[in-house]
Amino acid sequence: MTLKLDIERRLGAFRLKTAFEAGAGLTALFGRSGAGKTSVVNAIAGILRPDRGRIEINGDAVFDGERGIDVPTPQRRIGYVFQEGRLFPHMNVRQNLRYARLFSRTPEQAGQFERVLELLGLAGLLERRPGNLSGGEKQRVAIGRALLSSPRLLLLDEPLAALDAHRKSEILEYIELMRDEVRIPILYVSHAVEEVVRLADTVVLMSAGEAVACGTAEEIMGRPDLRPTSGTFEGGAVIDAKVVGQDMQYDLATLAFDGGTLMVTNVDALIGEPVRVRIRARDVSIALERPRRISIQNVLGGNIAEVGPDLGGIVDVSITVGSVTLRSRVTQRSAHQLGLAPGLEVYALIKAVSLDRRSTGAG
């Protein structure tokens, strides 16, 4: 299952010129507001017509400027969850969910309706009107409605943007579940790092109408050269690890990754489960020798890969630990005093690890 896209479109002074490919699992289309993310998904859905280019789903062109192909939106079979939900106000939840059945010529898969109800916790809402639903409930119905149209690809355009923090985490859990249970590739538009890191298998970074980078969440979030574009992301490293031990007495889990182990508190996961953690650059200090008698639990040995440019008295230092690159934010002064330079053997002292994701889903 792949989505291949290479399109151009002029929108006033703004020029959209984007090319990327997305495979199975969840691909995040990530970038600041105004980067052109929504235009891209609108082009995929057939709501916005590109000036030229090609959009392909599973090798099947839904748009091809040269060959004059432009499959109309209703026939593209692409589920679209909009920022504001866009539920039909004159229908109850059941009718909203069933809407796509009115136009489908293929028979419904047995039990599909019930599965979606269960997956998104919608069973109790069926007779309600959208006007009487909370923001989070509306988005769950919108996701269910899109899923029940048997799409080949699911587009989610900042589905959490209109929700408060509490609702956000609730819906995130549902999206995680869906990503893992429903075998439909998802393109997830967001400008929020936490969402992208938590959900994405692949990240496409967009800036000023262009896809400037594409790779795993680990790669994209870790690249300091992309930081001005990834914007809201505070420098740091994203690491995929696995739970290898649980210490009940101290409520500490041991996570193993290619480069060592990390001790993390409050990990709600079983031994063997994959997890994704994020370590911010400012939570990592550097020592030239392994410190003893120190409260910090996580000390990892590695080599300096790069000392970044002066960011106004501070520098970001990349440290290679196994196959992983950690980042540490230190002052220019301490970098000089310690003589930090590429190749130098150092110890990374990690003060905090945040857990971003319980499971890595389809990956």
Partner: protein, 236 residues
């Protein structure tokens, strides 16, 4: 104080004329209103103006134009007569036609406004779920425009009940055929000692209008509640 058979005939004829005028013009009005609300085409402004013409023209002029077009020897009238043996001139059907034309702009206006008030994004959402143009129209636009359609129907119905100038010019004032309520009242005012009769019919007209207003209010409220899931009054 009971209603006389003669009054009943006038009342029945008026209701029949107004009913058929609404029934025939409604599908056309919905189509034209949707076109005006959604489509852009060359000459749209002119078309829009033409649709609204009956609202600003003296009704007598409309009646006269209808007579020219639909009269026995008019281009449309003779054609209808020749091919279908169907005449509207000096018939109650002609009165219905006059009422339909005069009520058309009112009906269009109400329906068009409600189409324009619909969030186009809902229609885009419907198309991503597989609905084609007609599907979107039937399942999203039409139901959401229902309050406007009810209002339009009522306005046009009331206009039809009150139609005078175009009717008397086009189909004359024939008892039992084209003498609707306003025409009957007018006739009585022109008759010596007809005052009492004119007053009685006027009372009937008032009661009828009030009833129509009441029914429409109830229908609009019900339609809005159906759509929004709450009572429109609650917002005031």
């Amino acid at each position: 104080m009971g209603i006389t058979p003669e009054e009943l005939e006038v009342l029945g004829l008026s209701l029949k004329v107004a009913f058929w005028s609404v029934l025939v013009s409604l599908p056309v009005a919905v189509a034209v209103a949707y076109l005006l609300a959604r489509a852009n085409f060359p000459g749209k402004t002119l078309f829009d103006a033409a649709v609204h013409l009956p609202l600003v023209l003296p009704p007598v002029v409309v009646g006269y134009l209808l007579l020219l077009l639909f009269g026995k020897h008019g281009p449309i009238g003779s054609w209808l007569d020749h091919w279908f043996g169907f005449t509207v001139a000096f018939r109650w059907t002609g009165a219905a036609l006059a009422a339909a034309i005069m009520g058309f702009p009112l009906m269009i206006r109400a329906i068009r406004l409600s189409f324009e008030a619909i969030d186009r994004k809902l229609e885009a959402a419907a198309s991503t779920l597989g609905a084609g143009r007609i599907g979107v129209f039937l399942t999203v636009a039409l139901p959401l425009a229902l309050p406007g359609i009810v209002t339009g129907v009522l306005l046009s119905f009331a206009r039809g009940l009150g139609e005078f100038g175009a009717t008397i010019t086009f189909v004359s004032n024939i008892p039992g055929e084209t003498r609707t309520l306003p025409l009957a009242i007018y006739t009585y005012t022109q008759t010596p000692a007809g005052d009492a009769q004119a007053l009685r019919l006027s009372m009937i007209a008032i009661v009828l209008s009030l009833a129509a207003l009441f029914v429409s209010e109830v229908l609009v409220r019900r339609a809005t509640r159906r759509i929004m899931g709450h009572d429109p009054e609650a917002r005031h």
